[in-house]
Subunit: 233 residues, 2 copies
DNA sequence: TGTATTTTGTTTGTCGACAAGAAACCGCGA
DNA sequence: TCGCGGTTTCTTGTCGACAAACAAAATACA
């Protein structure tokens, strides 16, 4: 974390909020700040060397995206992961995968495709390097690039929210053990790119749905595994 | 708006932001604040008799919901209605109508149904009274109640956003002339309620799609009418 | 007269401070 | 030892003030 001299890094005006927002967001999505952890404003202000006002503003934004929960007159905490309603998450992300991939097949430009391929390359590299954290992040960016290519800001917004939430669920299990990163996802992504490039809407839909089913199945199996570990006799 | 004595209404702590948020939101959705109108913080602070801080916080929340746009270091303005990408709005709201109505048919409780019927009653009353403003608002609440009954917070969030946006589009045309409020919507709503109550998913889907088609067609016809008005020779 | 530059003014972004609630703490009594 | 009321402390919500950034007006110059 390297602090010490407190460099007082003369930030440009207006960049403060964005900076805090980015830091907080990353720490929440990578579970450095675990769900339920309280966020103290003054402490954060000291750590990031700025006033409470920009911190507060960033927190409001994060609350709007559902990443933190603000208890009135009480501390704001990192939003909990709701395992009881996990099915609503699965339902929604499956639908968004399908819809955005379909739209990407219809409306993508050459630049969109290049960006999608870039993200896929980064994803493949992360899987090859057995870097779970990078894999999770680049998987999110891959699907976000597809959503962008679909040119529907409403779907894009919901997709971002769901993908971020998914990052947290995945991070829960790919913490330290870098074993058996699912290389099949790389191939599935390649197939999706091919379908999009061919502007094959029906095939894009099918692939997106299968891909979503894969992820759902994996998270569920991870959940089940976790449950067994918690049983003690 | 009756000012004058500046009653200094001792608000409870923490209610300030919510108050400002509500006022701003209503004025934006009812087009009292037209799209593109600049929002001056200090002016608002004077009008609502509070500091700039809560106003700022409310603006951040509104920006998160896409109702205002914040230009950095410049005034924040009421978000524009993007007629060029109206089709993305139609696409998204049709999908949300279908999905939430389907889910409502599956998961609704007796209380949900009662709430939906309440909103429908208010909608019918507004149509009977030829009160366009009330009709627009209660139509939004009707579909929001259905979304709530669907028990999926992700769909619910996107639906709210789309319904609010729709309020602005509709308000554009139902400004003063209270002529021919479409009474057919009342019947369509009734049919949807019947399908939901019968837990008939397929029929709910069909009705929701037809209802969405109706609204899309109406907005498009209003748009065309408006365009003709704007042509000058 | 038109254009570049300085000056002025207005609005936002950030700061430190203060007051209101809520939680933690303490003392007292049973 | 436990429960209860009051007090203290800690955190948030709100405020007024100041400085930076941008826009517009005023000025200088060709």
């Amino acid at each position: 974390m390297a602090s010490g001299t407190a460099a007082k890094t003369e930030r440009k005006r207006g960049s403060g909020v964005q900076y805090v927002y980015g830091v907080l967001r990353d720490e929440i999505l990578e579970l450095t700040l675990p769900p339920g952890a309280p966020i103290d404003e003054v402490q954060l202000a000291r750590r990031l060397e700025m006033s409470r006002t920009p911190i507060r503003e960033a927190l409001v934004r994060l609350a709007g995206e559902g990443l933190v929960t603000t208890l009135p007159n009480r501390s704001t905490v990192v939003a909990n992961l709701d395992f009881l309603n996990l099915h609503t998450f699965f339902d929604a992300i499956t639908l968004m995968y399908r819809v955005t991939t379909r739209l990407a097949a219809q409306y993508h430009t050459a630049d969109d495709l290049a960006l999608i391929r870039d993200e896929q390359a980064r994803f493949a590299r992360a899987v090859a390097a057995h870097d779970a954290l990078a894999m999770i992040a680049s998987n999110r960016d891959f699907h976000a690039a597809i959503a962008t290519a679909g040119r529907n800001p409403y779907y894009e917004g919901l997709s971002h929210r769901l993908l971020d939430e998914g990052r947290r669920y995945l991070r829960l299990y790919y913490a330290g053990f870098e074993d058996r990163l699912p290389a099949r996802y790389v191939q599935e992504h390649e197939d999706m790119i091919a379908a999009i490039a061919a502007r094959d809407v029906a095939r894009s839909d099918t692939l997106a749905r299968q891909h979503a089913d894969q992820i759902v199945a994996q998270i569920q199996s991870l959940l089940a595994r976790d449950r067994r570990q918690h049983i003690e006799l």
